[in-house]
């Protein structure tokens, strides 16, 4: 029976059928749902959240060396974190098959850059597969494990947002139980010291030749002949867009095995068509290699290198065709930017922090990044996962050296702190900058949709586990000044900031309050109690000063005709931040 699955769900179906027994990841959009779905196979597959992508890949490599078929998944920027083991792993090759899923994000729906990870396959010398839809996700993952084991290569499985998150029909099958391969000690394969690696590099180059031959022969790369006036070479979701636009009026070479490229097949195809287009999203990855092989084609001269590709763009730039649209003036449509939720525990903290003068706020990747938006404006920069603390450290050292008035406050979430923030905090403790590090512990990985992490007490597959004690960890790495506060209590927040900024040594402020959307664990319930209530405005007292509106809470609305503020009781959970900033005490807590 055919089912409608997302690409991520189809990857899981394929991996399950292929006999995978170990999977590991750090959550990141658009890859997150792969591990969330694979976790359901509690009997057959050990599925784990790792603190970061490097540890996720490394543990999958360990499982593969031990003889299991294993999978690691991450978003494209996560592969940068995992790049170090990846390049060496290419040399050792595999025992059980291994697939690394890279979910790229053209269009940056939820990412800090636009990065085409197909280059990682070429750079690290890995075989690469690139599905165009959910059925291909399922089929190609199964093929990937066969290829991985046959050619002794890790596989880069490159998806994009539109492949990961769109749904299409999938015909699935049964799981084939795969015997775990025996582990045999083999220093010449797994011990990557220079003398071993020199020999292995030669083997990697030979492997690439074998893989290119496979690429020419496999029907994963196939030709659809139609009219030969236009020939199109494409891969991934760009193929679907090209097919949508050109229909049966052009011939296609559809590439699913995209490293090494099937140069012979490409030559044959190119020789038979009059005009050759290479249609690909983001970088000219195919085009560069095709042109380097001496084949004339049209690609990035026409197809943009920026942003997510769409059928409209292809039709416009290659066929000069545009759909007729309804003409209207949309200038009155107000923006609808994402914002911190009503009752978000980050709001009170950011509200107080942003009021400070001469502070550089070094931000990080997570919900709390939204604190940078109006009206809070509580962020100066954000580079990558875990960078807030070390970026902050470098800035603080510079301000201190030049006797600049600025002080640095770094903000980071609990999950991001575990990801790579802890390394950066060690750097601060070791080199002693007076940076104030604020760990915003909302007891969950928030932005990707509530994944467990080493601080929450539960594993991905729901087992109760040890909890990393953040203050004890900070102490252990050498931070002496630590305070734990309730971020909804502005007096506590201000006292803690005064205290930290008065110190000439590094300090850590930990805000501890659960995400408002989180399903509370028994531990949460006993620690935080049933605090949810409602706030209401006494309209007789409200003077319409909008002080509460400046907290940016979406439950508050300034009612222009009556010049008073109203609170949406459906959204409000009574965090009380607005109540504390009201100068005339017009806001009070009421029963929910």
């Amino acid at each position: 029976m055919k089912q409608l699955l997302t690409g991520n769900e189809a990857v899981v179906q394929g991996a399950y059928e292929a006999g995978v027994t170990y999977a590991c990841a750090y959550p990141g959009t658009p890859s997150t749902e792969i591990l969330e779905n694979i976790a359901a196979y509690k009997e057959e597959i050990t599925a784990e959240w790792a603190p970061n992508e490097k540890t996720a890949l490394e543990s999958s490599i360990g499982a593969c060396y031990a003889g299991a078929r294993s999978l690691a998944a991450m978003k494209m920027v996560g592969v940068n974190v995992a790049a170090d083991p990846l390049f060496s792993f290419s040399y050792s090759g595999v025992n059980g098959g291994l697939v690394l899923v890279s979910a790229d994000d053209p269009g940056m729906h939820s990412s800090q850059n636009e990065q085409d990870n197909r280059y990682y396959a070429k750079f690290a010398k890995l075989a690469m597969l690139e599905p165009s839809n959910s059925q291909e996700c399922r089929d190609m993952i199964k093929a990937a494990y066969e290829i991985s084991e046959k050619f002794n290569t890790p596989i880069l499985f490159r998806m994009t947002t539109r492949v990961s998150h769109s749904k299409s029909l999938v015909e699935a099958g049964e799981r084939t139980p795969i015997e775990k391969k025996p582990y045999v000690k083999n220093l010449q394969k797994y011990d990557l010291v220079p003398a071993v690696s020199r020999v292995l590099h030669r083997k990697v180059e030979e492997r690439l030749k074998d893989l290119e031959q496979f690429s020419n022969e496999t029907d994963i790369n196939f030709i659809e002949w139609n009219d030969k006036a236009i020939g199109i070479i494409s891969s991934g979701v760009a193929y679907e867009y090209a097919r949508e636009v050109f229909g049966n009026s052009a011939s296609y070479l559809k590439l699913g095995f995209t490293y090494p490229l099937p140069m012979e097949k490409i030559q044959q195809f190119a020789a038979q068509v009059k005009t050759l287009y290479v249609i690909e999203e983001l970088e000219p990855y195919l085009e560069e290699q095709i042109k380097a092989a001496g084949i004339a084609c049209i690609g990035k001269e026409k197809i943009p290198v920026l942003g997510e590709l769409t059928p409209d763009i292809i039709a416009k730039v290659l066929l000069n065709k545009e759909n007729s649209l309804i003409a209207y003036d949309d200038s009155s449509v107000a923006n609808r930017p994402p914002s911190l939720c009503a009752g978000c525990p980050h709001r009170g903290f950011f509200y107080a922090l942003a009021k400070r003068k001469n502070i550089m706020i070094s931000g990080d990747i997570g919900c709390y990044g939204l604190g940078g938006a109006e009206p809070l404006l509580a962020k100066d920069m954000s580079v990558c996962m875990g960078a807030s603390i070390s970026v902050g450290h470098g800035a603080q050292q510079t301000f201190t050296k030049f006797q600049d008035k600025y002080r640095v406050v770094a903000t980071i979430g609990d999950s991001t702190f575990f990801h790579t923030g802890v390394n950066s905090l060690m750097h601060i403790a070791y080199n002693q900058s007076k940076t104030v590090t604020c760990i915003l512990d909302n007891r969950i990985t928030g932005m990707t949709g509530h994944q467990e992490n080493p601080g929450t007490g539960y594993t991905l597959q729901g087992k109760p586990t040890k909890i990393v004690d953040i203050p004890e960890l900070c102490k252990a790495i050498g931070i002496e000044h630590i305070r734990i506060i309730n971020p909804n209590d502005l007096t506590e927040v201000n006292d803690a900031l005064d205290w930290a900024l008065s110190l000439d040594e590094p300090s850590v402020i930990i805000t501890r309050w659960p995400c408002v959307l989180k399903k509370h664990s028994t531990e949460d319930k006993s620690e935080f109690g049933d605090y949810r209530t409602n706030c209401d405005v006494d309209l007789n007292k409200c003077i319409g000063c909008k002080a509460c509106i400046k907290t940016g809470c979406p439950a508050l609305r300034f009612d222009k005709p009556i010049k008073k503020v109203k609170i949406d009781s459906a959204q409000c959970i009574g965090c009380g931040v607005c109540q504390q900033v009201c100068p005339v005490k017009a806001i009070a807590k009421v029963a929910k």
Binding site: E244, P311, R336, P337, P338
Partner: protein
């Protein structure tokens, strides 16, 4: 049916657009269509602008709808209909919820909620206004307004020959089946 049909569902995070996309797709698959569905949303779990696109026909390639190609635009929030109007085929239909959710800049008083949204829509396209929130409230659960709009969508796309009530039963929580079926029927009757 030769041509691929395009349904564009837009709203605000938390309104249940994704669930409607799921119910619609599931029924279309049962009816034997090739179906592709794509969610487009930003970072926020709540409060941001959300869209869900469903394409169905004999064979569907692109999972996303091109500008000017949607056969129907169903807006769960009034202003969102205006934001996405350029995706509508000039011959297409609009089903719009008579319900406003002010966005952050509006709450802060930096921007105003646009005036006369429904009139602009009626002037520019074949528009049905549905008082989904009011109807859902009368049925006992305001949250079921998404299913009211789904009923209007089914009518608008002439998909009434599919057994939607069974599909709804399969896709919502057991305790909300009754209210959702009522909401679906109310939606069917809300448009001509």
């Amino acid at each position: 049916m030769a041509q691929t049909k395009n349904v564009l569902l837009v709203g605000v995070g938390g309104q249940g657009t994704i669930l409607v996309g799921k119910i619609l797709s599931s029924g279309l698959v049962n009816a034997g269509f090739d179906v592709k569905m794509s969610e487009v949303h930003g970072m926020a779990q709540r409060g941001g602008s959300v869209s869900n696109q469903v394409r169905y026909g004999e064979k569907v390639y692109s999972p996303i709808i091109s500008k000017g190609q949607a056969d129907i635009l169903v807006a769960f929030e009034s202003m969102e209909a205006l934001r996405w109007l350029e995706y509508l085929n000039p011959k297409g239909k609009v089903v719009v919820n008579d319900y406003q959710i002010p966005s952050a800049p509006i709450l802060m008083g930096k921007q105003d909620y646009p005036e006369g949204v429904l009139d602009i829509l009626k002037e520019k396209a074949d528009t049905s206004v549905v008082k989904a929130a009011k109807l859902a409230q009368e049925l006992g659960n305001i949250k079921s307004m998404n299913i009211v709009l789904f009923g209007a969508l089914v009518k608008g796309m002439q998909l009434t020959n599919i057994n939607w009530e069974q599909v709804i039963k399969n896709n919502v929580k057991p305790k909300t089946v009754e209210v959702n079926i009522k909401a679906f029927r109310a939606g069917l009757n809300a448009v001509s």
